[in-house]
């Protein structure tokens, strides 16, 4: 029994236990503990992984002539770490007062825990698969487990979950087509056979494989133009469920791309694959898809008025950074892209938890109905502040390090326009997250929220811990880069020569230890200068400049609606919802065809049409011969 077998058995046991005791009150606590044990089992394998030695599984099947086996590689270990970490945090959060409140409002926290356990099991199986068949089977299981998690809330969420399902099954079928093509070419579904079959492929075939595998995995990841399902589906999943989905679920698509396109096929192969009649290669296409995935969803997020939709749209946008970094193919970019997966998981989870806490206390996540909660919920505010600094990619949080690595890579590889695209994404993110924190926590406190208290300790503790992780990995990014080096080696990419504080080179270095310490020092000096300047009197929020008017509690004195009017006005002609139009056009065509098909089966005298069709077919075909 290898350590990997122990881990997989543990997660199966977790699923079964959760299933059997899902109606118990202590179910959530049990699952959190079990995820913690799984995390420890994972960390037990860390020394072997650090040296790049994969941990095989003792279990293997032979089905219809196909071998299925599993192994924990460094890439799998990295993603599994994030998965289990997110699972621990989400399960913990769901087992607190939030779970009781959710049950009281008609939800089923037990079902949520079961869905979470299904997701963890299927994701671990996906990450550890060592052949194409196991990959596909676990890919489908992951898709359906995500569907279960999204639909577990019932009601309006089911509609968006069904929308997701169509996309997910379509993506799965694309991957299946790719796998079938590989099988037909080589007669085997092992990774080695796949790599061997690629060497003799024509350009057209290679494009087909890229589109099938890339497209299939891109659906899960939410790359443009296959992203329309993600924001609404993730936002409507109940609290910790959306944190889990946003943190790691869509990154399974990135895992697929890394495994199949980067590790097995190799980026060099796609660098030589040219788009006909243009000077662009397949890698350029991927890079620009990533760039547009950064920009467009970020500015869609800017226009959202619901906090959870806003965060979900940012989740889509940040995925673009990860792909962009990886596609660059050098040590800096790929390290940045991979580190961004980890960083994003940490601050996205913190942000979703914070928003959930506000929803728990106030009952709404509508940004136009909130405000001023910083005085009532300071811990949630701090968690959100650290989260948004991380999301925006500003020092001293960890988001800055991964973005810095990606920017350096873009400059060094000579892609100025992609650099500008990435920067536009960051700027849009800063604007958008400021609106989030301002409309929620800053500004005027509403009368109906005067009595609100901070979320209970059980809910704020995970937030605080996640924020601490965000800050700590920002301070010492070497801790995370240490896990990434073996991944880069496995993927066949150049390995980053990292330091504990970041990266040293003659062409520009980053040492976060110095940066964060100097920032803290600067703030300390600023604080000294501030508090040395005499006492300030605390005044009530209604004691405010209002052009000579008296403010009272009934006066709404908050600027939250249409927070960036000039930008919205300027961007409005560009945001014609083109992707949604495209999607609805496709659906309309399908409905038309479907109505036609239904008409065939409703016709009163089919024999006549039959005869007519037979005569026509005879004429056409007989005439041809």
């Amino acid at each position: 029994m290898t350590p990997l077998d122990a881990l997989l058995a543990l997660s199966l046991v977790t699923l079964l236990l959760t299933l059997s005791c899902r109606h118990q009150v202590w179910c959530g606590v049990l699952t959190t503990l079990l995820y913690g044990v799984q995390l420890m089992a994972l960390l037990f394998m860390s020394t072997s992984i650090h040296y790049g030695v994969p941990v095989p599984s003792g279990v293997h099947f032979n089905v219809l002539g196909f071998e299925m086996h599993w192994a924990m590689t460094p890439l799998a270990w990295f993603f599994a770490l994030i998965t289990l970490g997110a699972a621990v945090a989400s399960s913990w959060y769901a087992s607190t007062s939030w779970g009781r409140h959710y049950a009281a409002t008609g939800g089923s926290p037990g079902l949520l825990q079961v869905a979470l356990a299904c997701n963890v099991v299927s994701m671990l199986l996906l990450l550890c698969s060592a052949d194409l068949l196991g990959l596909f089977i676990s890919w489908e299981l992951v898709s359906w487990a995500s569907f279960l998690l999204m639909a577990s809330a019932g009601g309006a969420a089911v509609r968006h979950a069904l929308h997701y399902l169509v996309y997910a099954v379509a993506g799965g079928m694309a991957v299946l087509a790719g796998i079938a093509l590989v099988y037909v070419a080589t007669g085997s579904l092992s990774f080695d056979a796949f790599v061997a079959s690629l060497s003799g492929l024509s350009a057209g075939r290679l494009w087909l494989l890229l589109l099938l595998f890339g497209g299939g995995f891109a659906v899960k990841m939410g790359l443009l133009p296959l992203h329309l399902w993600q924001a609404r589906a993730y936002a409507d999943t109940p609290g910790p469920g959306s944190a889990f989905l946003g943190a790691i679920s869509s990154r399974m698509g990135l895992f697929g791309i890394l495994l199949v396109l980067v590790q097995l096929a190799g980026l060099a192969r796609f660098a030589g694959l040219v788009l006909p009649l243009t000077p662009f290669t397949a890698l350029d296409l991927l890079a620009w898809v990533a760039a547009f995935t950064i920009i467009l969803p970020t500015f869609t997020a800017l226009r959202q008025t619901d906090a959870r939709r806003l965060l979900a749209w940012h989740g889509i946008g940040q995925g673009g950074y990860m792909l962009l970094g990886v596609v660059m193919g050098d040590a800096l970019g790929s390290a940045g892209g991979l580190m961004h997966v980890f960083n994003h998981a940490t601050y996205q989870a913190a942000l979703f938890f914070s928003v959930s806490a506000v929803v728990y206390r106030t009952g709404t996540s509508d940004l136009d109905q909130l405000g001023g909660l910083v005085t009532r919920m300071p811990i949630s505010f701090t968690a959100m502040l650290i989260g948004i600094i991380g999301l925006a990619g500003l020092p001293p949080m960890n988001g800055f390090v991964s973005k810095w690595l990606i920017y350096q890579s873009l400059i060094r590889e000579g892609h100025p326009l992609l650099f500008i695209a990435a920067v536009i994404g960051t700027l849009g993110t800063i604007l958008s997250v400021y609106k989030l924190i301002h409309n929620m926590f800053l500004g005027q406190l509403r009368v109906e929220h005067e009595h609100i208290r901070e979320a209970p300790w059980s809910m704020t503790l995970p937030m605080i811990l996640l924020s601490a992780v965000v800050f700590a990995t920002g301070y010492l990014p070497g801790l995370v880069l240490r896990w990434i080096a073996p991944v880069q080696r496995e993927l066949g990419l150049p390995v980053l020569d990292y330091t504990l504080g970041g990266y040293q080179s003659t062409a520009g270095s980053l040492d976060m230890i110095w940066v964060v310490t100097s920032m803290l020092g600067g703030f300390a000096i600023g604080a000294v200068l501030f508090y040395a300047g005499g006492r300030a009197r605390r005044v009530h929020q209604l004691d405010n400049y209002a052009g000579g008017h008296f403010l009272d509690a009934a006066t709404r004195y908050q600027y939250s609606y249409n927070f960036y009017p000039a930008l919205t006005r300027l961007a409005a002609p560009l945001y014609r919802d083109s992707f949604q139009w495209l999607e609805s056009a496709l659906v309309s065509m399908l409905q038309l065809a479907s109505a036609g098909a239904q008409g065939i089966y409703r016709s009163v005298h089919p024999s006549l049409y039959l005869l007519a069709a037979a005569v026509i077919a005879w004429l056409v075909w007989g005439g041809g011969h």
Binding site: I420, A507, S518, G547
Partner: protein
Amino acid sequence: MGWGSVLLEVTLMPLLAFATGLLLVLMMRRIRARLERRVGPPFFQPLYDILKLYGKRVQISHGFIHDLGIIMVVGGYITVEMYLPMPGMDGLAAHGDLITLAYLMMVPSLGMALGVGQCANPNGSIGISRALMAMLGYDIPFMLVIVAAATLYGTTSLPDIIAAQQGGGMATWGVVTMPVMAIAGLVTTHVMLAKEPFETYVAPAEIATGPMVEMGGKFMGGLFVVQAFQVYTAGALYTTLFLGGGTSWLEFLPKLCAVMFLPFAITVLFPRFKAGEGLLWVWKWPTAIALLGLALIYLRR
């Protein structure tokens, strides 16, 4: 570099930057005065203003985040100065490069935004909204300048960029090797200062000075300090990238004043853009010039 010299540089650089910034603020006010046919304030006026503000008896605060905002603005700029090389002092520039500097410069804006947010005044929030939109505007040509400089010099480390320019005399200055980019950079510097015609976020008649509406006393004093830092940083960054820094203060100071002269003069002559107009203008002209400059750099490679 021993710990002692590091500590010395880290303390001196913000102080010198502050002092030089005060000088530049004075220059700005004198130029405005002269163009308006006045004499202008005395030499130490900017310092007197700050001391006056800090000495006010009645100072109001709307909460801890209000205080934290000002701390973050001042502290943030102090940190920025540690990473911007001065003649004779590189500070911490070896540990954080040009990109880090650009992002560190966004931290004070965020701090200000947070502090104004807790003031619970819509005028302030509108001002911050406009300020952030303006930041979205100027950061695009600014980042284009950064990527051009990084591409041309082959490094993002500021001491190396300065050394590359000082090595070959005036012929290797950025102004000479990438002239179109230098023009874009100068326009961007003006926009960054958020002075007329890009001063929409203040707009005294429209939104009651925007973010400053509930700032008084030491809060306003802190913002005045930051103004000095801001003017210095913009000028010093441009000088570092395009004018070869300065081997000594005798060379550095005139360069700074020369760079800032044009923006200061122009700002007197113009009224204010409307909120969206400024954004559109910045996305058109400086961006176009910067893109042209970038294309020229790439063509020459």
